[in-house]
Amino acid sequence: MSQFYCDQEREVIEALRCGSLNAALQRHASSCAICSDTVVVSEFLQSGLAEASQLPNSDYIWWMGQLASKQMAVRRATRSIAQVRSVSYLGLSTAALCLILAPGNLRSILSAFSGHRIWSIGGLAESALLMGIGALFFALLGSLYFAWSEK
């Protein structure tokens, strides 16, 4: 026996849950402080357990559970969309904040764009090609992501 529990404590509890203690356990409980407390507490807690109560029907609970699991599946399926949306909102807010707090940046960005050869006629074909490749690359990434999340 340790200071905090007795090896026969569980045996005593099980015996009381099933009805009563046998002679050997009774003898042990009268000499062991932990098991003596166990008997007092178990008898007290197990009394009045037969209290009548109206429980919900199991079929109703089953139906509620099925509904809950469907809701959870929908939440799981749309979680990635919600995450992407949150990130987009965050990005947009950050960009808007940058533009509001540092208006000089906007001017420098616009002037950098106007000086770039994307606006020149000669570079248009090359830029369109690059944009096309970029769009294809991101479409491929998106497809891979959705294929992976379907699994």
């Binding site: 340790s2 200071q3 905090f4 529990y5 569980r10 509890i13 099980e14 849950r17 932990i34 003596s36 407390d37 166990t38 007092v40 507490v41 178990s42 007290f44 807690l45 197990q46 009394s47 009045g48 357990l49 209290e51 009548a52 109560s53 429980l55 919900p56 199991s58 079929d59 609970i61 089953w62 509620m64 559970g65 099925q66 509904l67 809950a68 699991s69 809701q71 959870m72």
Partner: protein
């Protein structure tokens, strides 16, 4: 778990679970609400194959966590009033003895109930309550001694069960 297996499991566990929730919360409405929520969460969780004992343990874990949430949000008081509890035997003496249990801390009440009424061993209680086995033993020892002393005292002073 299919519907028939759930029916058997429910018939076996619903009454003890409700008794646990009722004695921990002290309110019939909360106990009924949490009973339903516990089973819904149990059914909605994608669980690996479990035997009845493990499923029962998992169900009580869900119920325990839900109780903790309610306590944390102060939706139910930590100390419950024995006079509010519905029972067939509502004599003053019985209420007085019940008060000894209800005045314990929520954690102590949980540990005592799980060990002495549900018959969970220390290992199972530790998993259920998110504690170490050694801590469960110490907490259980203290709570049990405290309650046993209070019960003996009340029985000695004449207000018996």
């Amino acid at each position: 778990m299919n519907q028939e297996a759930f029916r058997v499991f429910y018939n076996r566990t619903s009454r003890p679970l409700r008794a646990y929730l009722l004695r921990m919360s002290g309110r019939v409405d909360v106990a009924d609400d949490l009973l339903q929520e516990s089973y819904c969460r149990f059914l909605a969780a994608s669980l690996p194959e479990m035997d009845v004992g493990q499923s029962r343990s998992y169900l009580f874990k869900i119920a325990t966590n839900l109780l903790h949430d309610r306590w944390r949000r102060k939706e139910i008081p930590e100390n419950i009033d024995a006079t509010n509890q519905s029972c067939q035997d509502d004599r003053e003496t019985r209420i007085d003895v019940r008060r000894a249990f209800d005045q314990l801390k929520p954690r102590e009440r949980q540990l005592l109930w799980l060990a002495h009424v549900e018959g969970f061993d220390h290992q199972e209680i530790a998993q259920l309550a998110g504690l170490k086995v050694a801590s469960v033993r110490v907490l259980l020892f203290r709570a049990r001694s405290q309650l046993a002393n209070r019960l003996r005292e009340r029985l000695r002073t004449g207000s018996g069960v």
